[in-house]
Symmetry: C2
Subunit: 582 residues, 2 copies
């Protein structure tokens, strides 16, 4: 067979395309499967961005904690991205063997039986619940609270796989939110589906849901399926068919959903044989994308948020993680996920706040506003300060806490402010808060028996903030390596595309084989400075005390502020929610 021959003797070309659907944009990568070279990359912003202010169709103001996408943006960035990378490398299109993709999760949308997004059906377009809900749509927190309460009462054993907490970001809170708040939309939906699975459906013409998001976000496991109706009925009497919109068949990572649809193939100039890999979760593809294969490597995907990934041969029950699934990251191993939900988002927020009173709206405060151009100057000035020099401490809970507290209703804190505190001090404190939050996650894994000896960091912020990378090293005491790749997630997705294509076509037989053959070189390595580590240890003790006081002992204080805020200015349609929150 070709594959056993010496690679240098091969003359046949083979390429794969990876598409990484993020929060604000998507990245499309063309990968050379012989050399591992990243031949072309195209990043395209979603034309409609994150919809958290008003519904485009009606101008209706969205309630607090809502975050939507426009599904047509997915088609646009998919097709325009593929066309862009292929036209940048003429002659490659006919040798593309596979496409893999990943998306933020749980980003999920109601669709009709033929896969049409419900919000594109005119009669439903004016209903907010008909639109795709982004991972960071947190308005279903009250559902998550109720599910957690009932799961605890019933001592549901499936909870052990999720660190003991169901997140408001996941599948069932978002589905039940629709069931509760807009039953007509619920009834009109044939399915409620992850964006990653929806794009695979669009590409291949086949609904082939991935086992990975099902396991991490929809409470499914290969052994036990999803929790029985008894659990859901106990929480929400009448919600008796939990699988109705989810389905029951899930396909393993690396398998093919089938070849690309002929119409799309000809539109994009691709061979009709191109294999479409089943979908994946944006963070998880980074594990093989960064060249990691086994236990001991802690992979951090550092972007809008941070996703932490480790694998282990055993299933370990551990509170404070987001989830664990067999085969969830690498087949044959248990894949563990943890994370911090506001990283790039939080830094962009701060830059936006510096725009001052002119920008008095949630939208104007994002990194997309004029604030983003301040980030390089803030980064440069913050790097000139020493550990502990700001006198500040921050809890990075701007978007709640995912690990180790799993509490979306917590909010951010800055302590230590004085009249001589500068904007740069605060920016540095926010960076440090990310590193302290990461130490809490690492320590939690260690307490569960994980031996972690290196950190591999990838994602946009890993490239953009060497200062944060050095802090992660100094605070954790571990070396942090950043792979030399323009796009680790899209690279990982391309590898899954190559695995879906299989060895017979120039692809690979398994994801480990692909990761091993095409591991990217280390771009930069950040080693801990022992003096900085010693100083940060002292700051961390105070940080941990404040963290445990506000996050564990008295979470009601920050929860109370959020409740009072909802009462003070409820958004449209928020009244019902507010009642349940209080």
């Amino acid at each position: 067979m070709f594959e056993s021959a010496n690679i240098s003797q091969m003359t046949s070309q083979a390429y794969a395309i990876g598409v990484d659907f993020g929060t604000a944009s998507a990245r499309t990568l063309l990968l050379d499967l012989r050399s591992g070279e990243e031949l072309a990359l195209c990043e395209l912003a979603y034309p409609h961005g994150v919809i958290d202010d008003m519904l485009p169709e009606t101008g209706e103001r969205l309630p607090l904690d809502w975050a939507l996408h426009d599904p047509d943006d997915y088609r646009y960035v998919l097709e325009a991205g593929i066309q862009a990378v292929l036209s940048e490398q003429p002659g490659t299109a006919s040798h593309v063997v596979g496409i893999g993709l990943d998306a933020t999760s749980c980003t999920v949308l109601p669709v009709t039986a033929d896969g049409t997004p419900l919000c594109e059906v005119p009669v439903w377009r004016r209903r907010p619940h008909a639109w795709p809900k982004l991972w960071k749509h947190h308005a279903a927190q009250y559902v998550a609270n109720r599910l957690n309460e009932v799961a605890a009462e019933r001592r549901e054993t499936f909870m052990a796989r999720y660190g003991g907490r169901i997140s408001s970001e996941w599948y069932f809170p978002k589905l039940i939110e629709i069931w509760l708040e807009d039953r007509a939309v619920y009834d009109a939906s044939a399915a409620f589906i992850e964006v990653t699975d929806w794009v695979v459906w669009y590409l291949s013409g086949r609904e082939r849901r991935s086992a990975c998001p099902a396991a991490y976000k929809a409470l499914w496991s290969e052994a036990d399926g999803i929790p029985g109706a008894g659990f859901f009925e106990a929480a929400y009497p009448g919600f008796s068919e939990p699988a109705a919109k989810l389905g029951t068949d899930f396909f393993p990572l690396g398998t093919s959903a089938g070849p690309i649809r002929p119409e799309l193939a000809s539109k994009l100039g691709l061979p009709g044989t191109v294999a479409v890999a089943v979908g994946n979760v944006d963070s998880f593809v980074s594990f093989p994308g960064a060249g990691a294969e086994g236990a001991g490597t802690y992979v951090m995907v550092v972007g809008t948020s941070i996703c932490d990934l480790v694998v282990h041969r055993r299933e370990i029950t551990l509170a404070g993680i987001t989830g664990v699934a067999k085969d969830g990251i690498v087949p044959g191993l248990y894949g563990y996920e943890a994370g911090q939900p506001a990283v790039g988002d939080m830094l962009g927020w701060f830059a936006g706040v510096l725009s001052g009173p002119g920008d008095n709206g949630p939208d104007a405060n994002g990194a997309g506003s004029s604030g983003a151009d301040r980030l390089p100057a803030l980064e440069l000035a913050a790097a000139a300060l020493a550990p502990a020099q700001t006198g500040l401490l921050a809890l990075d809970w701007w978007n709640g806490n995912r690990s180790v507290l799993a509490d979306a209703d917590l909010s951010g804190v800055v302590a230590g402010l004085t009249l001589s505190t500068t904007a740069v001090d605060i920016y540095r404190a926010l960076l440090e808060s990310i590193a302290f939050g990461n130490k809490a996650v690492l320590d939690n894994f260690r307490s569960g028996g994980f031996e972690l000896n290196e950190v591999v960091a990838c994602g946009g912020i890993a490239e953009k903030s060497p200062l944060l990378m050095q802090m992660l090293a100094d605070v954790s005491g571990l070396t942090v390596k950043v792979p030399a790749s323009s796009q680790v997630p899209a690279r990982g997705s391309a590898l899954f595309g190559a695995v879906a294509a299989g060895p017979g076509t120039g692809g690979f037989g398994s994801i480990e084989e692909a990761a091993n053959a095409l591991r990217p070189p280390t771009g930069s390595a950040f080693t801990p400075d022992p003096q900085a580590t010693a100083t940060y240890d002292l700051v961390y003790r105070i940080w941990k005390d404040l963290h445990d006081t506000l996050g564990r002992a008295y979470p009601d204080w920050l929860h109370g502020l959020k409740r009072l805020k909802l009462l003070a200015a409820p958004g449209p349609g928020q009244a019902a929610t507010t009642k349940e929150v209080i």
Copy 2:
């Protein structure tokens, strides 16, 4: 006598001048003693401002927590201010009968035997300790800590007059700081004197120290004098003559230090008979200036910081106040002082921070920087939000806490931050933190048995921020009145000038008589909105829990951040201090 005649029948003119020496500027007021009309006001900034960055003479960087003034600025604003108000009202100068003045306290300077500021003697000019130290110079906190420790050990009864805590802002911590850190400067000083007393000396040619700052800031009482050498020697062996630089004679409020010096009278075009009142503390003069006379009225002077003043016929022992002195505010009553040390300062700080990474220095962050022009827009936008709508909570400890915790090493906290928090939200939370801090002070007085039924607020921020005034009313549940005066403190000082001049010259026989005759009308009254009060009550519960946790149960956390900051970047000459702080 003239005074018993009907005022409308009086034809003789009589005027008094009041000068209010603040942190960044001084205000000079010309008051008509017949009509109570404020005829002319002149505000002049100190040319050298607050010196907290580097020593002008040498460019030497000042350590953390230092804050100095240039004494020549006092002469300049005094003379130019008086000339300005007199030239604005031609024909008044010859009818001026008295001058009163007040200054921030404890702002204090070392002088030679003839009253020359030590820093103006060339051989001492390069020594930081030879310069006037502003009230908010907090670098003597370690001395205050030691004095508090020893006073507690020795169960010193004088501590009951000071809410149980000596502040780092006061006389003896600042004096002993010099004794410890620059003995040569200490030995070269003939006296160490409050600025208010120094200006009286400059005006009248006589050193006539006022009983008021002596009682509130130098641990003196009429009955007991200052604490004995035994107390000081127990804390600092060798510091055996506590009265050496302070003196032992103090003159009551409203008395005259004597007539103006002939040279100054002719320079300023004033009669040689003008009486100079003994000096007063900037906040205290506002009590009669605002027209308050007796118990039940809570006077707040709202400017750079807040000073709260109440009087009572009995001496009440109460923790959490700054001080109590018989005759300290109004003769015959006990005068109680409390306060919040960062108000206008904190708001200006925030506006400065919004200037972003371009302004990476403590000086550039003050309200004097480009930030100040943002305040009106912030105020306007913050007023459009409802109570609790920001979801934020702040502890206003940017400059430590004076009441009710008396801890200068605490620092500010903002909690409840999310990705949708705006600059305006934060600004509003800072305003609310001032109102919550004030409620803590009010509740403390009430717990001591004070019946407070109205709040009179004056000072620059009382004029500039109707939003803060409404919050003070809503949070406290009390009506807040703002007198219609362009300058309550300078008005109060002018009244003391008129009392020093006495009834025989067109002045008054007592400060109560003056306050009563010339009470300014109420400019605006803010009545509490019951719904806002109810909402704030809920927020305040959380605020109080956080306040007590970080301020009482675990002050070590915020103290620790400050210690680590000092260690991370000690200023010049800071090493020794740091050693003692740690």
